[in-house]
Assembly symmetry: C2
Homo-oligomer: 370 residues x 2
């Protein structure tokens, strides 16, 4: 006798839980040509839009069962964040377990698969390990976390220590952003397997100097003092808490020539503020779509001048051409030029999206530690 199925006929229901939904929908449904059909049941909603990363919100159509549907044009292979905006309320796709975690707005993700050559595609190559660390921060006065990627074959007793990249997320993300959304571990696995990047350790800390900064939401940026304190405290946390911990626990070179810092959006600004003001500690710096810093660059980088060229192996400044922040990034590059500080400038098509930042990482990581 089987005791598994919970039906009305059975006297002893043995299924762990009752079935949650009557007729599950398929969403998202990715078609062979890369177009995607999204479905969302909301029988009484008046207006439902699909908000897809990198695109304007698009109206969905309702059928007589109360299911709203939209099929996109063929999408380029990538991972796309999305949600449904039902009568103004942003909601994840309840049929899709693939989430895009974020402290301000949880979304869903859809994978439009592409050739294995794309750096974020999971391939049958040796994989690194992602380590999740927890500690009490004296600076922030809270319990927080960071992630550490160790490359395939990482050997804690290796004769040669590993170089390290500190990789910083954007505003709203949590410390899991670069792995859960940015696929940094997959990208590094692929680059290392192809011999395109050096075997390196990647440290992904929580990027806030104070959690109240992100709890305030986007309004936080209107509070200049709080913003500056957030940047300042983050720098202290990175240099005095996270860095000593990871250097104590992993086989890492404690040498500015083997230490890089890079990040996206707020994390790009943190990379510039922390990196360019601490050239004794960092010699490889990357800023992807950086934003949120005061535009008074002289105040941001008071001691920076052409002497930095001798210390910097790489100052890499990237932005999508469709990103509002392109203006800020171009201004910064002009200012650096006027100062005589050499920077590598990279502009690719794209908005303020992870599609740009995954490509940035795939281009930036191979340049490091050469």
């Amino acid at each position: 006798m089987l005791g598994v199925i919970c039906t009305a006929q059975q006297s002893k229901p043995m299924q762990p839980l009752p079935p949650p939904r009557p007729v599950p929908l398929v969403s998202p449904e990715v078609h062979a040509d890369g177009s995607v059909t999204f479905r969302f049941r909301a029988p009484n909603a008046v207006d439902v839009k699909l908000a897809l990363e990198g695109a304007d919100p698009a109206s969905m159509q309702k059928d007589d069962r109360g299911v709203w549907t939209m099929t996109t044009a063929p999408l380029a292979p990538d991972y796309y964040g999305y949600d449904f905006v039902a009568d103004g309320v942003r909601l994840i796709d309840p049929e899709n377990p693939l989430l895009k975690p974020n402290l301000l707005e949880t979304q869903s993700q859809v994978h439009v698969p592409g050739p294995s050559a794309l750096p974020w595609e999971l391939n049958d190559v040796p994989h690194g390990v992602v380590h999740h660390h927890f500690y009490r921060s004296a600076v922030a006065g809270d319990d927080r976390d960071y992630y550490v990627y160790t490359p395939p074959g990482y050997d804690p007793a290796s004769k040669e220590p590993y170089p390290v990249l500190y990789l910083l997320h954007g505003f709203g993300d949590d410390a899991s952003g670069w792995t859960a959304v940015g696929r940094a571990n997959v990208i590094l696995d692929n680059l290392i397997a192809r011999g395109q990047a050096k075997s390196m350790i990647v440290v992904m800390p929580l990027g806030y100097g104070a959690m109240e900064f992100v709890r305030l939401g986007w309004e936080a940026w209107t509070h200049a003092e709080m913003r500056d304190r957030n940047f300042e405290n983050f720098r202290e946390i990175l240099l005095n808490e996270v860095m000593p911990q990871v250097e104590g626990q992993y086989r890492i070179k404690k040498d500015r020539n083997a230490r890089a810092i890079g990040g996206l959006s707020m994390g790009g600004s943190e990379s510039l503020l922390t990196g360019l003001n601490n050239l004794d500690k960092f010699s490889w710096i990357g800023a992807f779509s950086s934003g949120g810093i005061p535009e008074d660059f002289q105040k941001d980088f008071p001691t920076l001048d052409a002497k930095a060229n001798q210390q910097l192996h790489l100052l890499w400044i990237a932005c999508g051409t469709g990103d509002q922040l392109i203006t800020l990034n171009r201004s910064l590059r002009q200012w650096l030029k006027a100062k005589g500080v050499k920077a590598t400038e990279t502009e690719i098509p794209g908005m303020h999206t992870w599609m740009v930042w995954r490509r940035n990482l795939a281009e930036f990581a191979p340049l490091l530690f050469r």
Copy 2:
């Protein structure tokens, strides 16, 4: 000049993204007495219920702004999964970044804080590390993952290797279930800090022998052959893929006396099926609210008899008294008794919920490796 704020007056909008929502709600709001107010904006929904873990769905009340609200009675300190059922559709709380990941139904979680003595409360004690591993499974033919908890102060070069607990999740969960929802790492940190549990390694694999089993949803359990294949393949994956990998990468005792297996619901059954049928490998076995196995115990455990008592250090069978599966678990214990196999029986109040399983782990782990 500051370039941060995106307002209509500014010519150069520098904020990374426009503000997503007009007036954010506060949800969940946990009050001092442990009651919780939930809020959800759904202006056109006809019926919205709160589905809180361990409770019957409760109707929410709509105000004139289209916000549905409900305040619970004071809740016992714990973590509770929940979602909103809006016109029959289960949705997470869009205001709450704390998720309860699940392959069948993503939910939100709310923390009702309690005394630091509660095993799942984060305390200022040394923390272990949670390692996320990825590999290609030859048995399942897919790419999958597992998590490994190493205790505080874990030393890969330790003279004395560590004992290991294989800890299995339930149907619908993914490999992150025991950490993201079960708080296994926090529970172990606390128990170890108090000297109540031995310093041990905990391995948390993906618990499916075949992913199509969970993709089918709850209906999967009606396919007996598929279910049996799922259990069978899982056993093979655990013994021949996960176990050799972790034993190769961590400082683990390769000894049945230092190897435990335990799990919840489907994972409880997997612990019994894999553990009791492989007493040469496991000597500590725990089943929390186990379910989903055929009730023909003679067929499930064909060679089990009283001789097992010499090999088993612990066979621990737990279930909540409010769980449907209590009948199956009592039957199993009767059958074991008739066979002369000693088991420790634990029944605590509670349904088929994580509130029970966190307590189970906190009670089971201290018994191990004594």
